[in-house]
Structures are given as structure tokens and as C-alpha cells.
């Protein structure tokens, strides 16, 4: 691999928001009191801006380099050098992380801006921005970290910030629970991640080449080939474990349960963390280590399967939700499923591209929903909305555009990215037609429920005469209670501007990767090609040289140039299916031609109720894992108290019985010697003492008996 270009500014991409977080976190109360919320906002936003500019600079610098030299490294210091482990505090930018930092800092910046408006009534304004900045720093660490361990630092860090932000309004018990749930479920994933990391390190160390630095892993991954762990090929084991980590962070089956609950946090948080950035970390990680995953076809199949199942199930749940944010949450889960399909079929760049486009339109959707919620004073139930199009034109139009994008309508961003995934699912050697089929159906369902949402929120008549305020309630809207009736209003400019920018992105970014079939040049894919090698014919026995990758990329591009007619057919089908979904939604929720109860009452309502209750997964998890763990812990604690304490201290129960017969036990308890040995000792001692009757002849008997015993002992 060519030498990295050493630069010194990458650290500041992380440090800037970190400093912002530190200032706001430690001095926030005083600043807010002294200089007002705008000062807080400035302290928070400026660092993000700096990061964004630096990210752009990195991007520019990469562009200026030849494709196989696009690699910047900022080595800050030695970090952990122990034994064979050599991990430095170092950050790198390559084409993949460049995309990610642009997304994170760009969209993150917009969301910061938006939050200024959204949170302006919040008393703990400073705390919110401190968390938000901290999150940025963590996420950027995740992206820029040059080793798996630094990546993991960010990985856990974003989990922590997510916890803090979901539980931002901690006074509501439900919010606190949701936060804890999110953290815990993520921890399960992290567990998988570290196991994978360890297995990887020692797999390499077995050959004397242990490392956790990603670029070194890339060079040495072939050494893992042929190693077994408990009969499983090591690459498969490693990637499976890492994938467990990815399912946690990216909310895939079986660990997706936290994401819908995470909507308890303020809406900008949902947009930033639970839609655009953090949840894509799993996808990013797989992309980062794509060469490893390519070595493990079995894992890829699992990933694709999990991905498609998640996409489908989450979409079906989304159909039955009424909470405006919950719908978006399930749609996020579903869209992440699509990304995993792409990863699972080896089409890494397609997955990353979907990640990229999704960030725009999903952030826009969340912020739009936030705008609605803001306007309706924390009403989140879509049944109490309707007709908002009239009151909130900007929000509506941006929301609508983004919905079109997520539904996969050409020429919006989602169309290009989703279609690429579906095509790869069908055509890739790791793909399968049924993945494509389920994916396409899911795309249709997506279109349905997203338009259901648009129609319920923005069309028809406004149904929310009274300002409801439950779910997302917090102290900040107390000022509004004076209004008996209020009309929804458009959000302020600081909130709508980000919406417009993001909507524009939702429209435009798709064109970055127009497939050859539509006259494009796969520019995005080409950009990523040095990093992401499709798993088509993954050369498992050769080192993954960069040059080789570039050659591959070139071949890829050529391949796509002569496109399959089938690709067009599938494209048309998916657009038609999506269109069908939209039509159905229109018929049901705008025209009222079809009563929703037609579906909800089918088969005695069982399917509907099942979906409405999210397949009861939460309940099952609660019963099995949460209560299981708690039960186990209570059992062990009792075991500890009774048995271990008992046994170690002596055979407590036995001695207690004996002592009770003695009538002396209570006395000993009072005296503070309750422990077993104590009791045994006491008991024996009492017997010994009982010999001391006070009768002199019994003492003399003792001598005689002693003699006899000693004599016999001697004679025997």
C-alpha cells in the first residue's frame, strides 16, 4: 500500500466539536445565564462548521490525488502499545471515510442549526448542545479512527451520547427507560464487536502479525484464511461477531428494538443520530472491513438475509403506526435493512450510496416531522393532524420531496440508491432472486406507509383542535398553555432552511451515482472503488493491494457499461410497485375509497394487531432476556447470600439446627457470631465447656479417660 499522506488537521475535525462539548458541558449553565442561548448555539455550531470545512478540505485534498493515493493520515500519538498490540491515536481519511465525514459534519451542521430553533424554549439548552457536540466528536472518531479500537471508541461513544440524548428529558420515566434500553441493546452489539475484534487480532497474531489497524488488517487479512475456531472458519467467525455489533448499532433483527423507542429523544436527535449518522455505523463498519466480509460468504448470506427480513418486517410494522416519529423510525430500520442487503450481496458501494442518500431524505423527513411536532406543540399522533399543507407549506414541500425519495420515485435520490441495491440483490453472485422479490415488495410497502403518513399529516382537514401534549411532553412548552385554541404555524427560518437544503439533497444527490444504464458513470462507486471492492470474485488468497482494487474498479465500470436489459425491467417493476403503494395510500387516506378497516379487520384482526403491536417482540424480549437476566441475578444473589456465605462460613444450616437444639443460637446471633464456622466453633466449644462441670471428680475422670485413650492410641 502506498504511503499515507501525513497531515495534521484531521484531529481538529474531532477536537473542534469535542472542545465545543467541553465548553458547553462544563460551563454551559454560566454561559447560558450570562450570554444567553445564542452564545451556547454559537459555541456548538462553530466547531461543527470548522469540522465541516476541514472535511471539505480533506475531500479536496483527496480529489487532488491519484485514485490509489487517496489516503490521509494524522497520527497524533502512541496510544496503547502493549505486547503485540500497537494502537496509535491516529485518524485517517480515505474515500470512504471522506464520504462519511462530509455526511456527518454537513448534515450534522444543518441539524445543529435546526435545533437552535427547535429547542429554543428548552431550559437545559446548553446540555442539549453539549451532548450534540459530543456526539459529533464520537461519530467522527468512529469514522476517522484508523484502527478497530479507535473505531470502537467512537462506536461506544455514540452509544453513550445516544443514551444521553434519548434520555434528555429524563424526568419522564419512559424516556429514561428508552435510553437505557437503547444503550443496553447496543451493548449487546458491542459485545459482538469486541469478540470479533479479539478474534481478528489473535487470528493475525497467530501468524505473528497481530494488528488492529484497519489498513494493516487489509494487507494481512489473507493470513486468516484456513484458520479455524471451533470448526468455524475464522473469517466467518470474526465477521459474524462483527455483524452482531452492526445489528446492534444499525438496528437490525434481532437488536432493532431500541430504535423505535429511541424516538423519545428530541426530534433533531432522532434525525441526526437515529436516522442519518449513528445508525449507519454498522453499515460503515462493514464497508470499512469489506475485504474481511468478502472472505466469508456465509456471513454475507446471513447479512443479506437479516437485511431483507429487517427491511420487510420493519416496513410492515410501519404500516400500522400512528406516531409520526415511530413511522419514521420503522422506516429507518427498514431502510437500514436495505443497506444491509447491499452489504450482504457484496455490493458495498451500493450500500454506502444508500446510506448517503438516506441520510439526506431521512434527516429531512425527521426534521420535517419535528417541524410539525413543533408547530402542533408536541402532538405526535397523526390522527390528530391533517391538512397541515396549508399551514406549513415549506415543511410540506420538503417532506413531500423526501417522501418521494424514500419511496424510490425517479429521479429522486432514493430511486438511484435503492434500485442499485435491488439490482445487485438480483444480479450479484451473492444475491438471490427472492431477496430481490422481498426487497421490491418492501419498497412497495415503504411507498405505501410513507404516503399514508404524508396524506394523514398534510392532506385532509386539520383534526387537532386541541393542543395535545403527551409523548414528547416536557417543561418547555408550558408557556403555550395559555392558548385555548391555536393554529399550526410554519416553523421559523432557522428550522426551514435546513429542511430546504436537505430536500435539495434528496433530489440531487442521487445523480452522483447514476448507473450506466441510465447514461451515468457510477461516479460515487468509482470514487469508493479503491476502498470498496465488490465481493464478486473476492480473491481470497491474494493480498488486497490498492492497485488491484483500482483495476477492479475499472473493470466494474466497464461491466456496467454494457448493461443488462434485465436491469431496466427490474427498475420498471420496482417503480411500478412503489407507485402501487402510493396509489393505495392515496385511495385509502385521501379519497377514502378503501376503508383502512378493510385491512385491519381481516382475519379477525389478528394480522393487524400483530403488526400494530410490533409482533410482540418487545414483550418477548422483556419476558425472556430482561426478566431472565433479572431472575438469574436474583437467584445468584440469593445463592450468594445463603449458600456461598453459608458454606464458606461453615455448614450454616446444620450448625444452626444443632445450636438451636442447644438453645444457644439466639444468644450467638445477638452476640454477633452468626457465621457457620463461628457457630460450629461455638457448638464444639460449648461441648468442651460442658465437660467443665465444676465437679472435681469429673475432672479426674477426664485424666483417666485421657490416659486410656492415649494408651490405646499407642497400642493400636
Amino acid at each position: 500500500m502506498s504511503d499515507p499522506i501525513a497531515v495534521g488537521y484531521l484531529r481538529w475535525i474531532i477536537l473542534a466539536p469535542l472542545i465545543g462539548a467541553a465548553i458547553n458541558g462544563l460551563l454551559g449553565t454560566r454561559i447560558q445565564k450570562a450570554a444567553g442561548k445564542n452564545a451556547i448555539a454559537a459555541i456548538a455550531i462553530v466547531p461543527v462548521l470548522i469540522s465541516f470545512v476541514l472535511a471539505l478540505n480533506a475531500f479536496r485534498q483527496l480529489l487532488s490525488l491519484p485514485a490509489d493515493h487517496r489516503f490521509l493520515l494524522d497520527s497524533v500519538s502512541r496510544w496503547i502499545h502493549v505486547g503485540h498490540l500497537r494502537v496509535d491515536m491516529a485518524f485517517w481519511v480515505d474515500p470512504l471515510s471522506a464520504v462519511m465525514i462530509l455526511v456527518v459534519t454537513g448534515i450534522g451542521g444543518l441539524i445543529h442549526l435546526y435545533s437552535v430553533g427547535y429547542m429554543h424554549e428548552e431550559p437545559s439548552f446548553w446540555r442539549f448542545f453539549a451532548y450534540l457536540n459530543l456526539f459529533m466528536a464520537a461519530m467522527l472518531t468512529l469514522v476517522l479512527g484508523d484502527s478497530l479500537l479507535t473505531l470502537f471508541v467512537g462506536w461506544e461513544g455514540v452509544g453513550l451520547c445516544s443514551y444521553a440524548l434519548i434520555g434528555f428529558w429524563y424526568k419522564e420515566w419512559a424516556n429514561a427507560s428508552a435510553a437505557a434500553k437503547a444503550f443496553l441493546v447496543n451493548r449487546v452489539g458491542d459485545f459482538g464487536f469486541i469478540v470479533g475484534m479479539f478474534a481478528l487480532f489473535w487470528g493475525l497474531d497467530q501468524t505473528g502479525q497481530g494488528t488492529l489497524v484497519v489498513r494493516e488488517i487489509a494487507q494481512r487479512a489473507h493470513l486468516l484464511d484456513g484458520q479455524l475456531l471451533w470448526g468455524i472458519a475464522l473469517p466467518t467467525f470474526i465477521t459474524m461477531a462483527l455483524f452482531v455489533g452492526a445489528t446492534g448499532k444499525s438496528a437490525q433483527i434481532p437488536l432493532y428494538v431500541w430504535l423505535p423507542d429511541a424516538m423519545a429523544g428530541p426530534t433533531p436527535v432522532s434525525a441526526l443520530i437515529h436516522a442519518a449518522t449513528m445508525v449507519t455505523a454498522g453499515v460503515y463498519m462493514i464497508g470499512r472491513l469489506n475485504f474481511l466480509f468478502s472472505m466469508a460468504p456465509a456471513t454475507l448470506h446471513v447479512i443479506a438475509t437479516i437485511g431483507v427480513l429487517t427491511a420487510f418486517f420493519a416496513a410492515t410494522i410501519g404500516v400500522a403506526q400512528y406516531d409520526i416519529k415511530k413511522v419514521l423510525a420503522y422506516s429507518t430500520v427498514s431502510q437500514l435493512g436495505f443497506m444491509f442487503i447491499a452489504m450482504g450481496v457484496g455490493a458495498y458501494s451500493a450500500g454506502i450510496f444508500h446510506l448517503f442518500t438516506h441520510a439526506f431524505f431521512k434527516a429531512c423527513l425527521f426534521l420535517g416531522s419535528g417541524s410539525v411536532i413543533h408547530a402542533l406543540h408536541h402532538e405526535q399522533d397523526m390522527r390528530h393532524m391533517g391538512g397541515l399543507r396549508k399551514y406549513m407549506p415549506v415543511t410540506f414541500s420538503t417532506f413531500f420531496v423526501s417522501t418521494l425519495a424514500i419511496a424510490g420515485m425517479p429521479p429522486f435520490a432514493g430511486f438511484f440508491s435503492k434500485d442499485e441495491i435491488l439490482w445487485q440483490a438480483f444480479a450479484s453472485p451473492h444475491g438471490h432472486w427472492w431477496i430481490w422479490l422481498v426487497g421490491t415488495i418492501t419498497a412497495g410497502i415503504t411507498a405505501f406507509y410513507m404516503f399514508r403518513q404524508v396524506f394523514m399529516v398534510f392532506f385532509g382537514e386539520y383534526r387537532g383542535a386541541h393542543g395535545g401534549h403527551h409523548d414528547d411532553a416536557h417543561g418547555s412548552h408550558g408557556a403555550h398553555h395559555g392558548h385555548a385554541v391555536h393554529h399550526p404555524h410554519e416553523s421559523p427560518g432557522i428550522m426551514t432552511t435546513p429542511l430546504i437544503v436537505l430536500a435539495a439533497g434528496a433530489v440531487l444527490v442521487g445523480f452522483l451515482n447514476v448507473p450506466g444504464g441510465l447514461g451515468g458513470s457510477h461516479r460515487f462507486e468509482t470514487w469508493l472503488a479503491p476502498v470498496l471492492e465488490p465481493a464478486h470474485e473476492a480473491p481470497v488468497h491474494e493480498p488486497h493491494g490498492l492497485v488491484k482494487k483500482v483495476e477492479h474498479a475499472a473493470e466494474e465500470t466497464l461491466e456496467h457499461a454494457e448493461h443488462d436489459p434485465l436491469e431496466y425491467l427490474l427498475m420498471v417493476i420496482s417503480v411500478l410497485v412503489a407507485g402501487g403503494g402510493i396509489l393505495l395510500a392515496w385511495l385509502m387516506y385521501v379519497r377514502g375509497k378503501i376503508d383502512p378497516s378493510f385491512f385491519s379487520d381481516a382475519w379477525a384482526g389478528v394480522p393487524y394487531r400483530t403488526i400494530f403491536n410490533k409482533y410482540y417482540v418487545d414483550e418477548i424480549y422483556e419476558a425472556v432476556f430482561v426478566n431472565g437476566a433479572l431472575g438469574l441475578s436474583k437467584m445468584l444473589a440469593a445463592f450468594d447470600r445463603v449458600i456461598v456465605d453459608g458454606i464458606v462460613n461453615g455448614v450454616a444450616t446444620l450448625t444452626r439446627l444443632v445450636s438451636q437444639a442447644d438453645g444457644a443460637f439466639d444468644k450467638y446471633v445477638v452476640d454477633g457470631i452468626v457465621n457457620g464456622v463461628g457457630a460450629v466453633t461455638m457448638w464444639v466449644g460449648a461441648r468442651a465447656r460442658a465437660v467443665q462441670t465444676g465437679h472435681i471428680y469429673s475432672y479426674l475422670y477426664a485424666i483417666v479417660i485421657g490416659f486410656v485413650v492415649i494408651m490405646f492410641a499407642r497400642l493400636l
Binding site: 496510544w79 496503547i80 502493549v82 461506544e156 433479572l630 444473589a637 450468594d640 457470631i673 457465621n675
Partner: protein, 504 residues
């Protein structure tokens, strides 16, 4: 100062204890001030030690060696290497902090501070002693003040807790005494010099090593405390006054693992290899998981922290048992980190106990709104205890588990599952105490005060700094541990070769 610095560090607190005893009974502030005054020089000396410690060598440094009882070859032999210096630093720091944290003590404060300083001296002595006899003396001397500190100034069941602590530790230490004597007489010529004993380790038969190892180990295991000898800990912690809990968890528990590293490892390498691969690793794993699960079921805040200590000390055993540089470095680093993190946790429990006079986790609720700064500090400590990256315990736990994978992938997976369990009980506790609606009863509770923050700040800084930049400690310990690892591994390469493992 350079040559006698350790002696000063050990005996200054002792002088302080005597001085405190001579003060008038009613001069509360004078007593507090004097006690504090006598913990400051050791702290400064600790910093000096840190600066002047040669990180490149595994040899003992700042050595003082004076014959004590020549007829029995007992010496006053002290010195530090990479393993002990971290503990010396920790002891100096925590002693100072705990003295400050003890300012609230009203009852018989003269005796309290005198005993505390005596305890301080003994702890310091344990970590500096290089003569087994001296080590044992300091080890035992520690018991007495501890007994009184728990027994007189403790909670409602203090008498029970104190005697339980005393008896448990005593059982362990008398077995250690026998093993110590056996080692003394086994070595030719007879010696208590730990370095001499280690250098002759090759001549000890394996059978003898095993017996001696077990004898020593039980003594140390009780202190760690390893399952199933751990049941004294929750009782002692719950009853002990705050500062004593801090010392107990922060320093005393480390003595167990320190003893194993200082004595079992270099002196009985063959037995160490035997037992590390089965006993130690299994106990470590079990401690980690069992402690975490037990912690989850606790309703007493302090008891929960106590069980979490059991879990976290499991990491230390696990790391030591791995026999890899990564694991063993992680173990020693974890000793230091646990010392700081758990100290914070106990100080924080003390803060709330002082205000609410109970520790029932379910009896609080919503403290975050009432005591925001306190909650912030607790969050830091909790997250550190959970091993979140950016905070010190993360690095040590990762190193320990990473080291474990090479020989024990399955056990490593089991141990690693504690990341979930730990998060589980920590978050659950966090939620129950700090989040949710504010408990009416405690509205208006004063937030954490300046003195309490003062005790927490140094620990907090260490926790954060070492999380980002662990080198200050890793560099200190590395040379000695690499050497130790070589000693142990070198002594029984044959054994390892048959097990199919390579030792770095």
C-alpha cells in the same frame, strides 16, 4: 530523599498517627488538619517517584535494604518496580482523598484519624516491602485499624461486618504465613528476600510449588476477593464509613492481586502456569459474571457497588491468568483504574448517604433534577465503571479480554458478556436513582459541596486522562510486567509447548 523516599512514605503517616494521638481531644480542626498534613508529603513524594522512576528497567528502584533480624535473615527491604509503583501512587492519592472525605467524622475523631494514618502506613508498606516477612507484617498490621475503623465508625451491623472481615482475612493470612515459612526453609540458604526467592524458583519442585501456591493464593484470594471467599466484602463495604469503603475497595482489594503478581508469579512460576490456566482464569471469569449478576439484584446502592468491585476484580485475575503481555498489563492497569473508579463510586454513595441517610436504590428517584452536579459526577463514575471508551477502565478491560482470547476464546466470550451485564445494572441503577420524576421527599437536598467535589476532582481527572492517554501508567508498568511474563513463561516453556501455545 532519593534513597529513603519510600521509608518516608511509609513512616510519615505513622508519625502522623502518633502526633494526632497527642493532640487535645476537642481541637477538631487541628486534628483534621494534622491528619491531612501528614498525608500530603507522601503524595508529593509519590509525584516525585513518578517523575524519577526509570521506566526502562524491570529492576527494583529506590531500594533500601537493612538487616532487621540477622539471625533469621529478616531484612527491612523495600523498593518499587513497575508493578508496585502504581499501587504506591494510588495509595498515596487515595489516602489523601480519604482523609479529606473523612472530615465529617465526629465520633472519637482523634482515634479515627490516628487509625486511618496507621492504615495508610501499613498499606504503603505492603506495596513497598520486598522482604516476605516485612510484607506479611504490613499485611497483618493493616487488619487492626481496619477492624476498628469498620467496627467503631461503621453502620448498624458494623460489629458483624468488622469481625467477618477480620476473620476472613486472618484465615487467609495465616495460611500465607505457613506458605511463607515453607518457602523460607525450602530456599537454600534460607531467606525471605522476595527477589532471592524468585531467582531460585527453578530449584523448587513442582509439587512443593503447587502446595505453596495454593496456600498463598487462598490468602490473596480472600483479599481480592475471589469467589467463593468474597462474602465478607459486601458486608464490610455496606457497614464501613465512606472513606473506609474507598480505601477498602480502592487499595485493599488490590493487595490480593498484587500479592499474586509479586509473590506467586515470580517465585512459583511452574505452579502459576498450572493454576493460571485452570483455576485463576476460571475464577476470574466467574468473578466477572457472577459479581455482575449479583450486583444486578442488589437494592442497596453500596452493596451494588461492592458486587461490582467483585466483578471488576475478576478482570484483574482474568488478565493475570492469560499470561500474555496484553492481559497482564491490562490486569495491572485495571488494578489502578478500578482503584480510582470505585473510589469515586464509593465517595458518591457517601455523598447521598450523608444527605438521605439511606442507600435504598428504590428509595430515591429523579435526583438528577435536584442535584445536577452530583448526578453529573455519578454519571462519569458509572460510565467509567461500565468501561466506556474515553474513560480509564475501558483500556484495561479491553487489554485484559484481548489478552484472554489467545488461550481462552470461550471464557473470553463469557467474560466479555459482562459488558452487557455491567451496563445493565449500572444503567438500571442510574435510572432508578437519578432519572424519572423527582422524589418529593428529597426536593431541596443540597447539591454536592465543595469539599466533596474536591475529593472527586483528582480521581475524575485521572479517569478521563488515562482513558484518553493511558501511557503514563502503561509505561510505568510495562518493563516489569514483560520481565515477569518472561520469568513465568520461561520457567515452563515445556509445559506451554505441550499445550500448543507460544509465549511472547
Amino acid at each position: 530523599m532519593p534513597t529513603n523516599v519510600l521509608t518516608w512514605m511509609i513512616f510519615l503517616p505513622l508519625v502522623g498517627a502518633i502526633v494526632v494521638l497527642c493532640l487535645p481531644r476537642n481541637a477538631a480542626n487541628l486534628i483534621r488538619g494534622t491528619a491531612t498534613f501528614f498525608t500530603i508529603p507522601p503524595l508529593i513524594m509519590a509525584v516525585w517517584l513518578y517523575q524519577h522512576f526509570d521506566r526502562a528497567t524491570s529492576d527494583m528502584q529506590f531500594v533500601t535494604k537493612i538487616p532487621w533480624i540477622p539471625s533469621f535473615n529478616i531484612q527491612y527491604f523495600i523498593g518499587v518496580d513497575g508493578i508496585s509503583i502504581t499501587m504506591v501512587l494510588l495509595t498515596a492519592l487515595l489516602s489523601f482523598i480519604c482523609i479529606i472525605a473523612s472530615f465529617g467524622i465526629e465520633k472519637a475523631m482523634k482515634a479515627y484519624f490516628a487509625l486511618f494514618l496507621l492504615l495508610d502506613a501499613a498499606m504503603m508498606g505492603v506495596f513497598c516491602a520486598l522482604d516476605f516477612f516485612l510484607f506479611f507484617v504490613f499485611w497483618e498490621v493493616m487488619l487492626l485499624p481496619m477492624y476498628f475503623l469498620i467496627g467503631i465508625w461503621g453502620g448498624p451491623r458494623r460489629e458483624y461486618a468488622a469481625i467477618k472481615f477480620f476473620l476472613y482475612t486472618m484465615v487467609g493470612s495465616v495460611l500465607m504465613l505457613v506458605a511463607m515459612l515453607a518457602l523460607y526453609f525450602y530456599a537454600e540458604p534460607h531467606t525471605f528476600d522476595l527477589l532471592e526467592l524468585a531467582s531460585r524458583s527453578g530449584s523448587y519442585s513442582t509439587g512443593f510449588q503447587r502446595i505453596a501456591w495454593i496456600g498463598l493464593f487462598i490468602g490473596f484470594a480472600i483479599k481480592i476477593p475471589a469467589f467463593p471467599f468474597h462474602t465478607w466484602l459486601p458486608d464490610a463495604h455496606v457497614e464501613a464509613p465512606t472513606a473506609i469503603s474507598v480505601i477498602l475497595a480502592g487499595v485493599l482489594l488490590k493487595m490480593g492481586t498484587y500479592g499474586i503478581l509479586r509473590i506467586n508469579y515470580p517465585i512459583l512460576p511452574a505452579a502459576t502456569l498450572d493454576f493460571a490456566f485452570y483455576l485463576l482464569i476460571a475464577l476470574g471469569t466467574w468473578n466477572i459474571v457472577y459479581g455482575a449478576l449479583c450486583a444486578m439484584a442488589q437494592t442497596d446502592f453500596k452493596k451494588l457497588i461492592a458486587y461490582s468491585s467483585i466483578s471488576h476484580m475478576g478482570y484483574v485475575m482474568f488478565g493475570m491468568a492469560t499470561m500474555t503481555s496484553e492481559g497482564i498489563n491490562g490486569a495491572v492497569l485495571q488494578m489502578f483504574n478500578h482503584g480510582t473508579v470505585t473510589a469515586m463510586l464509593f465517595l458518591l454513595v457517601g455523598v447521598i448517604y450523608d444527605r438521605a441517610h439511606h442507600r435504598e436504590i428504590n428509595g430515591f428517584g429523579g435526583l438528577a433534577g435536584i442535584m445536577p452536579f452530583y448526578t453529573g459526577w455519578t454519571a462519569l463514575a458509572f460510565f467509567a465503571a461500565m468501561g466506556l471508551p474515553g474513560l480509564s477502565a475501558f483500556i484495561s478491560e479491553v487489554l485484559v479480554l484481548l489478552g484472554g482470547w489467545r488461550s481462552y476464546p470461550a471464557l473470553t466470550i463469557v467474560s466479555a458478556s459482562a459488558v452487557v451485564l455491567t451496563a445493565g445494572y449500572m444503567l438500571w441503577t442510574m435510572q432508578r436513582i437519578y432519572l424519572g420524576k423527582a422524589n418529593e421527599k428529597y426536593v431541596g437536598l443540597p447539591d454536592i459541596n465543595g469539599r466533596e467535589i474536591f475529593t472527586l476532582v483528582p480521581l475524575g481527572i485521572i479517569v478521563v486522562v488515562l482513558g484518553v492517554y493511558p501511557r503514563p501508567v502503561l509505561d510505568l508498568i510495562n518493563a516489569s510486567l514483560v520481565h515477569l511474563n518472561q520469568v513465568v513463561a520461561g520457567k515452563a516453556q515445556v509445559a506451554l509447548a505441550t499445550a500448543g501455545n507460544m509465549v511472547p
